[in-house]
């Protein structure tokens, strides 16, 4: 097996055979004759390793494969940071090491993190510091619902009352489908269910804000090309239109396109007329669209080719 050790041994033997000077670090140290009881396990290996050249003054000590052996001369010095006492400089493990009092631990945590929710302040900080960061229910009835100003408008497509029949009777919930969009090409469609209409609308709006897609639009606020999309049994075909046409589409498709900011488009619901599935199908159709510039870059051809 060709290892570094073998190669060096071979090199040393070649150099000694040629009576060339050996660099000092490769020369074997002048040890006394190897131990009188040679290790039977290593005798075969030492026979392989040692070069029986007559010009070699000192026979090579037997090499062994144990990592902790000290008879073999070290060729490669491994980097180990040690201090004067010869011990390795490593910090104590977290288990051993000085035991810290609770006071010290609490103080250290407080310095690093703002007091957060620990409730007890060691360094005399204000323990109610988190209140200003989190909205809490005020003492006067309902929390003032602040309208999140992130530029998204919500529109409810449909609210239905759905029922789950259990042993005790019927459990009623409300299911709201909400389309969220800024009028600049970003929309999201999601469902939310709750026992009250308002909560359901809120839930669906939060979810919709988390899953927003971008619609490719041209300068005249229309699609780059026509496309189809389906979700379940609902199929929707979308097509571009000349400026001044407006959005010619029905129901859910119209709402999605309006919230996206598309001004001129054609859309038709083929297949089933269920609002939720059609809204999702428009999203699928829109995701399939690509801008002409992207396609020409991908394919590496000039844009004029695409319009032939």
């Amino acid at each position: 097996m060709l290892t570094v050790r073998n190669v060096i041994t071979l090199g040393v033997s070649i150099l000694t055979a040629l009576r060339l000077s050996i660099p000092s670090k490769f020369a074997p140290p002048s040890l006394p004759y190897p131990s009188s009881s040679p290790n039977p396990r290593n005798s075969s290996l030492s026979a392989l390793h040692s070069a029986p050249s007559p010009s070699h003054p000192n026979p090579k000590p037997p090499t062994s494969t144990l990592p902790s052996s000290t008879t073999r001369p070290r060729r490669k010095r491994r980097f180990r940071p040690t201090n004067a006492a010869g011990r390795v400089n490593s910090p104590p493990a977290f288990d051993d090491g000085p035991e810290e009092t609770e006071y010290e631990i609490a103080a250290a945590y407080e310095e690093l993190y703002v007091l957060a929710y620990s409730g007890v302040s060691v360094l005399s900080n204000d323990i109610y510091v988190m209140d200003s960061k989190v909205k809490r229910t005020s003492a006067f009835g309902k929390v003032k619902k602040e309208k999140t100003k992130d530029g998204f408008e919500e529109r409810v497509v449909q609210v239905r009352r759905v029922t789950k029949v259990v042993k005790g009777g019927k459990q009623l919930h409300f299911r709201a489908i909400v389309v969220v969009g800024d009028k600049q090409g970003r929309v999201g469609v999601r469902v939310g269910k709750a026992k009250e209409v308002i909560d359901a609308v809120q839930k669906s709006a939060t979810n919709a804000r988390r899953n927003i897609i971008a619609i490719p639009m041209t300068k005249y606020l229309t699609f780059p090309h026509r496309s189809e999309g389906d979700y379940g049994a609902a199929t929707v075909i979308l097509g571009p239109a000349a400026p001044g046409t407006g959005v010619i589409a029905g129901g859910a498709v119209r709402i999605v396109l309006e919230m996206a900011g598309v001004e001129n488009a054609l859309g038709k619901q083929l297949g089933s007329k269920i609002a939720l599935n059609n809204a999702r199908a428009t999203v699928v159709a829109v995701q399939k669209m690509k801008q002409f510039r992207e396609v020409s870059e991908e394919r590496g051809i000039p844009m004029e080719e695409l319009w032939r």
Binding site: S90, P91, F94, I105, L112, Y113, G119, V120
Partner: protein, 236 residues
Amino acid sequence: MARRYWNINLEEMLEAGVHFGHGTRKWNPRMAPYISAKRKGIHITNLTRTARFLSEACDLLFDAATKGKQFLIVGTKNKAADSVARAAIRARCHYVNKKWLGGMLTNWPTTETRLHKFRDLRTEQKTGGLNRLPKRDAAMLKRQLSRLQTYLGGIKYMTRLPDIVIIVDQQEEYTALRECITLGIPTICLIDTNCDPDLADISIPANDDAIASIRLILNKLVVAICEGRSSYIRNP
């Protein structure tokens, strides 16, 4: 990310038993590149690769600590619970010792409500408010307090979602890992031969059964965090 020397000794790892895996029948074939041999029905992981991943993880933790990021250590196995708590306290990180409640990170507003309650209960206990109540109410509140202490005691200093999460056993802590993935939080995970190495960002193939091996790896990571923190404190 500069590479530093973390004094990762292969002999130390052999002594701690980091190279032992689980039984041969329970392996995940995705771990094939990290397994070096099969001995007596147990897979043996390749320690050189472990050392490499461990040093990369330490580098990542050091750099993150120099920028003042927050860490979370998750370990709910009985064996690992104690060492996780001590390691986190030494490194001044947040930790989850007992059961990981579902939605701790993804449902952060609700967790925050619980932390508020925890804080209020503690202040009341400190000011002696519990003694003024009738016995039954006081007992109920004390029970709530002890419950919150066991489950949320390690994260009571957490103000926002952590930046890096360290998970001790992937099989046990699967929910925690899933939450981090949905939220996009980078994770460092201790992987055994029956785990999936592609889920976490940095996965360290090691033995998650032996206390010594968990201790060793946590020790190295904690040292990295402490060093990074000290340089952050010196020049923020």
